[in-house]
């Protein structure tokens, strides 16, 4: 999966699940302070990412380290493509 595909699919999750305008979806946007997500939203983010990318990430400890949208892209790339940090 290419980086562009990951970004496009991830951004679609944020638009559809959290009603965030595309213009606000920057890699350095903090998902809590900039995009307004909270702890319940993180549960839904995981469910939506699992569905969109066909992955199992619910118990992945690295989820807890996600802070920015860029972190989400990297996290998915690692899980999907087996990339290492």
């Amino acid at each position: 999966m290419t980086e562009e595909e990951i970004i496009e699919k991830t951004n679609r999750v944020f638009e559809e699940s959290f009603e965030i305008e595309p213009g606000r979806l920057k890699a350095d946007a903090h998902i809590f302070t900039d995009l307004g997500l909270d702890s319940l939203d993180i549960v839904d983010l995981v469910v939506a990412l699992q569905s969109s990318f066909g992955v199992k990430i619910r118990t992945d400890e690295k989820v807890r380290e996600i802070r920015t949208l860029g972190d989400v892209y990297s996290f998915i790339a690692r899980v999907k493509n087996g990339e290492q940090d």
Binding site: G36, L40, D41, V43, D44, V47, Q50, R58
Partner: protein, 408 residues
Amino acid sequence: MSLRRVVITGSGVVSPFGEGVKALMDGIHNNSSAVKYMDGWDQYVGLQSLVAAPVDTIDEKRIPRQKRRSMGRMSIFAALAADEAIADSGISLQAEDLWRMGCVIGSTMGSAKSINDTFETMLPDKDLSRLNSTMFFQCMSHTAAVNTAQYLGLVGTVMAPAAACASALHSIGTAYDLIRLGRQDVVLCGGAEELHPTVTGSFDILFATSTGHNDSPQTTPRPFDRDRDGLVCGEGCGILVLEEYERAVKRGATIYAEVTGFCTTANGIHVSQSNRDSMTVCMKRALAEAGISPERIDYISAHATATVQGDAEEAEAVRELFADNVPISSLKGHIGHTLGASGAIELIASLMMMKNSIIYPTRNLENIADDCSGICHVTEPRSAEISAILKNGFAFGGINAALVCQKV
């Protein structure tokens, strides 16, 4: 201990006629029917009744996403109706002691669609990982009350009486008690309900739904009519603002009416069938609490859902207490049976009738059934000064409820 007086100072509705009290009353005034054929319901094997009274369009995006995400359909109805009720009351939430302001909204159960979606998501593969974070908050029994209180920031008593189709009257009765006992000063109260094939199905399997009008939806339900063949489910929410009388007067609020009597009884005989004797006791006790005789009631808002057995029982109970002296009508022919919301939506419509000195008829009542005769059916709109209303509500489980409201 002296009990405080309780008055109604605001109302809000989402009904099958749309959003707002005005849409509801316009629909009733025009003698319209909100009942329609439900596309897609024929895929449910064994479902015989394919008609319902849905709420078509609502502006749910008005509710911020993080407040809305835990709301199923019925909670969205409740939040929108609560917005209207608060605005109508003239209360400014910013100026209120919100610890003295409660929220009591009942429903038959949690959001039917959300409950169905939860199990449809989870059960095929017995996989919980596909469930999102807020499904439970949509499914829980107090979902409408909790979500409305969260939406408005109310921090007083939040409760959700669940008594199937009597839920709204139980909520209003509870709110009345909370205020007259001095525990709260203002309470938003009412009922909410949403349509789903499984909801209609719960009545359908008991042969309680209307099944003979799938090709002519607007001719059913037919309360008290000779050819009635069962109920038609509707959806929506009615919210009333109940307020302590002195406080309401002091702030110059518009007072629709005073709640003067409430009673709820059970029949102890049958879980699904209505029972005239327990209904009569319930109405009598509500009147006794209000301190008025049956002749003082000017309008009875019937529960009458158009089931063969239920309508006959209610008619008999009303006949015993009121003979044919008090005008009675049912609004189910206009908006279907909005179940846990019906008591509140129909009470609000009755309060508007009181305000406008008019009584609207039972839609689809063309030939009064023999077993529903001997009471004062309203079959055409009529002008009438209304000083006192009796609102009936009956429910599965053998539950009866009756509420008396009087002009102040």
